[in-house]
Each structure stands twice: as structure tokens, then as C-alpha cells.
């Protein structure tokens, strides 16, 4: 490798990492706040694993596995939301079945695909190295869409997630907003699979809001703080992965969990000190 090739490679690596971390943080921070506050973590796990079915079929049929995952993810998310609105579903069981069905379908089709599936590991555990410019562009577009959607319709989205039944008393478009938001959540999960992998992507969405909620109880602040914490954690994890030669997805999640633990300890010490000061006064 010549010096120039090396420089280009490094530049590419840094740019991919920076943009990847930035877009992943924006999308995961916004979507994660929605998922955590609406208690949709298990549902999101179902969507993630269902989308693996799409990845497998994509490999087998020879089209972009991410596109396959997106179709599977969105359809399964909308299907669960539809059945839940109709109240015809024991949600947790249905999600469990969908979860397993997605994984089984994915594995069957990957095994049926002739030859070796080189990127399989990257889909399971994530790899920023295999992120293509197309992946980055779609994550970038999704970031813009999410930021715009949540700033324009902030109150409407917030109030529907808090008290859907009350929202129905003044709005006839509750279901449209629910479906659209759910589809965006599914898309966020699927596009971030490249970064963190099927196994780890859910933590990328759920840990940052949980760090943020240690500091604030205001939805908008949680969203902003989640994006910041996700960005800090993923950059730190990415750098660590680079120097230690370990997979970035795992390093990022590990960093985020450590941040969460440290933040928890610090905030609980602060609360204790505050209480003691109060008692002494």
C-alpha cells in the first residue's frame, strides 16, 4: 500500500465513521426517545429480528439486503400496530413469534444461497467498514426527515403517544400519525443495523434516552440529550474500536453502557447529597 492509498483509506475511514456516527446518533436518539417513552422496546426487538428475514431473502434473490430488511421491518411494524389498534392481538406473543420467524427465514435463505455470505457477520454485529455511500446517504436523508417531522408535528406526536384516547377527541388523524411514526421507527432500526448489527442495534436506540432521563423529564430535552449522548458514545466507541482493532458496533454499545452506569452512580450520589443538605437545613 502506497502512502497515498493509505491516506485515502484513512480519510475514507474517518469520514465514514464521523458521518455514520452522526446520522446514527440523530436517528437513534429521536427514535429511541419515542420507543422508550412509549414502552415499545420489546416491539422494536421484534421488528429488528423480523427484518433479518428480509436480509436473508435479499441475499438469496440477489437484491440489496438492506432493502429487503426495510420492507420486512416496516411491514411487521405496521402489522403489529394495525392489530394492536384493532385490539385483536396478544401483543407480546405475536411479537415473540414474529421475532423467531424473521430469524428463521433469514438463516434458511442465507444457507440456501450458493457460496459464502461474506457480510453475514456484519449484519449480525455491525461493521462501519462495510457501510456503503448509499447506506450513509439513506441514513442522512432519514435524519433530515426525522428532525423535520418531529419539529413540525412535535405536540401532535407527543400527545398521541402520551394519551391516544384523549387525542382522538380532537383529532381524526391519530391512526395516520401512529402508522407513519411507527414506519419511521422501523426504518431507523433497519438502517442502523449496518452500524450496530441485528443483535446490538436495539441498545443503540434505548441506552441514550435512558442516560438522558437521568438528567431530565422533559420529552424535548430527552430527545436532544439522547442525540448528544449517542454521538459522544459512538464516537468514543469508534475511536476505541480503531485503536484496539475490535468491531465498532460492540465497542460503541459497550461505551454507551459504561456511560449509563457511571451517569447513574453520579446522579444517585448527587440526589443523596441533596437530600442530606435538605435534612440538615
Amino acid at each position: 500500500m502506497t502512502d497515498m492509498e493509505n491516506t485515502v483509506f484513512q480519510y475514507d475511514f474517518i469520514l465514514k465513521g464521523l458521518l455514520g456516527c452522526l446520522f446514527a446518533s440523530i436517528t437513534a436518539g429521536i427514535a429511541g426517545t419515542y420507543i422508550v417513552s412509549r414502552r415499545l422496546v420489546f416491539l422494536s426487538g421484534g421488528i429488528t429480528h423480523a427484518s433479518f428475514g428480509g436480509i436473508g431473502i435479499g441475499y438469496y434473490a440477489g437484491f440489496n439486503p438492506v432493502a429487503g430488511a426495510a420492507v420486512f421491518g416496516i411491514l411487521s411494524a405496521l402489522g403489529i400496530e394495525y392489530l394492536a389498534i384493532r385490539q385483536k392481538l396478544r401483543e407480546d406473543s405475536a411479537i415473540g413469534i414474529l421475532w423467531a420467524l424473521g430469524m428463521a427465514t433469514g438463516i434458511i435463505f442465507i444457507f440456501l444461497t450458493p457460496g459464502y455470505a461474506p457480510n453475514l457477520m456484519s449484519f449480525l454485529f455491525g461493521s462501519i467498514l462495510t457501510v456503503t455511500p448509499a447506506d450513509l446517504i439513506s441514513l442522512g436523508i432519514l435524519s433530515v426527515v426525522l428532525v423535520t417531522y418531529f419539529s413540525v408535528f412535535y405536540r401532535t406526536i407527543l400527545y398521541i403517544s402520551f394519551d391516544e384516547n384523549y387525542a382522538r377527541t380532537y383529532s381524526s388523524s391519530v391512526n395516520i400519525f401512529k402508522y407513519f411514526t411507527t414506519a419511521l421507527m422501523a426504518l431507523t432500526i433497519v438502517l442502523n443495523i449496518r452500524m450496530a448489527g441485528v443483535v446490538l442495534v436495539l441498545s443503540l436506540l434505548t441506552i441514550p434516552p435512558n442516560i438522558a432521563m437521568l438528567f431530565t423529564r422533559n420529552y424535548a430535552s430527552i430527545m436532544r440529550l439522547s442525540v448528544l449522548w449517542a454521538f459522544a458514545g459512538s464516537l468514543l466507541g469508534y475511536v476505541m474500536a480503531w485503536f484496539a482493532g475490535i468491531p465498532a458496533g460492540a465497542a460503541i454499545i459497550f461505551t454507551l453502557v459504561v456511560i449509563w452506569i457511571v451517569a447513574r452512580i453520579i446522579t444517585s450520589i448527587i440526589i443523596k447529597i441533596k437530600k442530606r443538605v435538605k435534612n440538615e437545613l
Binding site: R155, L158, R217
Partner: protein, 248 residues
């Protein structure tokens, strides 16, 4: 007293399930009506019919348009489904009562926020503007939702079994507050505790698939059974059978 809403020969329900059959009711300015009846008898459906969420399968609901439209109705639902740990502060919950006056992309203006703060003060919740529901007592939570119903300055206030989650210390205060509000707006209150509310309401609507209007706050067990309204009349104090109006 002018009529605000007229319900005429309405049959309504969910899908093929009829809950209310051929009911008629007129709601006038200054009304304070207790809506009583057994569980599943259609009390909530009646309130939702007035709100416009449940549509009549037959008959009509007529709003006196010079005085009221659907946006002038304040609603306090039974709130068991709400997640108290949801990261939403009291002020924002109260503000959500203004959403019927907003477009889906609407913003809250300074005047809206001042209105919410005023209501929060009026309901004795000052200091809790930035709290979430999980930090409040049951009675305080209820006042937050009452604030949400009142912030839009409604002409009619619909309360769905508010006595379900009132704490006893706040109960008396709550009914006194309602009486005060009644000078500004008509109130319909669904309840299963006829005894308690009979000293506050001015009339009753007995709902059990059919609706019977009873134009006075005094109601007897005999009348209730004639209305086909099988609820246990809880009596208070020394009055054994009939609940009479309080005399000062």
C-alpha cells in the same frame, strides 16, 4: 336557558354492538347533570357521542352553533390507561387541552402558556409545573387532567367518573370547584355514586341502553327502578331511602 346541544332519537354503539338505543336529551346552559347507570350501561358512550368520537347510527346530535361547537367541550376521561411514568411535564399535559384549537403542526404561543399557568394556579398545582405525573398524588393527577379539560375555556364540561380516583381530602374541594365552574359552563358528570353527587347536581340522566331524564336532584330507589336503572342508591347520613337536597 338556551339549549347548547340537542340529542334526538339517537342509536349508537361500536360496530354491530348497540349501546344506546333511541335516546333523546337536551343540554342547556347552566345544567349540572349527573349521568348515572350500571357499568356497561352506556354512560361513557353518551359522553363520547356528545364529543363526536362516537357517531350516531340513527338520529342526530345538534350543536347550537351560535353558542357552541365541538371544540368548546372540555373532557375529563377515565384515565386508567395513561402511563404515569411518561416523560411529559404537567404544564405540557394541561396545554394538550388546547390542541383542538390548533392545527397538527401548531405551536403553543406565549398566551397559551400563560393560560395553562393560570389554570395550574387555579387548581392549586403551582410548583408542580415541571413535575411528571409519577411525582404527584392521585388527587393531583386528577386536577392536572381537569386542568387539561378547562384550559380551552369550554362551554360544556364532561366528566367521566371523576369520583373513581379522587383522594378523600380533595373530594369536597373538587365538588366545590365544580359548583363554581358551573356558573361558567354546563357540566355533565358520569358517576356511580348517586348519593354523593346528588347534593351537587341539579338533574339526573339515567342511562341503561335507554335514557331517562330526571329534572331534579332528588331521586328515589323506586324512580331508579322505574327508569330501569339498576344501581344501588348509596344513602348518606340519616336519610334512609330518598336523597334530598341539602338545606343550609
Amino acid at each position: 336557558m338556551s339549549a347548547l346541544i340537542e340529542i334526538k332519537n339517537v342509536t349508537a354503539g361500536y360496530g354491530s354492538k348497540t349501546v344506546l338505543e333511541d335516546i333523546s336529551l337536551q343540554i342547556n346552559e347552566g345544567d349540572f347533570m349527573g349521568v348515572i347507570g350500571p357499568n356497561g350501561g352506556g354512560k361513557t358512550t353518551l359522553l363520547k357521542l356528545i364529543l363526536g368520537i362516537v357517531k350516531p347510527a340513527a338520529g342526530y346530535v345538534n350543536y347550537n352553533e351560535t353558542l357552541i361547537d365541538r371544540r368548546n367541550i372540555g373532557y375529563l376521561p377515565q384515565i386508567s390507561q395513561v402511563d404515569n411514568a411518561f416523560p411529559l411535564i404537567v404544564k405540557d399535559i394541561v396545554l394538550s387541552g388546547l390542541m383542538m384549537h390548533k392545527k397538527p403542526y401548531g405551536r403553543m404561543e406565549r398566551a397559551d402558556k400563560e393560560r395553562a399557568e393560570k389554570i395550574i394556579h387555579e387548581l392549586g398545582l403551582q410548583g408542580y409545573e415541571k413535575a411528571t405525573l409519577s411525582e404527584l398524588s392521585g388527587g393531583q393527577v386528577q386536577r392536572v387532567f381537569l386542568g387539561r379539560a378547562l384550559v380551552g375555556n369550554p362551554r360544556i364540561l364532561l366528566l367521566d367518573e371523576p369520583d373513581n380516583f379522587v383522594d378523600t381530602t380533595f373530594e369536597n374541594e373538587f365538588y366545590i370547584k365544580l359548583r363554581e365552574l358551573n356558573s361558567r359552563m354546563a357540566i355533565l358528570m358520569a358517576s356511580h355514586d348517586v348519593g354523593t353527587i346528588s347534593s351537587y347536581v341539579k338533574s339526573f340522566a339515567c342511562v341503561n341502553r335507554k335514557l331517562h331524564y330526571h329534572p331534579s336532584p332528588e331521586i328515589t330507589n323506586e324512580q331508579l327502578s322505574a327508569y330501569d336503572c339498576p344501581i344501588q342508591l348509596v344513602t348518606h347520613g340519616r336519610v334512609p331511602h330518598t336523597v334530598l337536597e341539602k338545606h343550609d
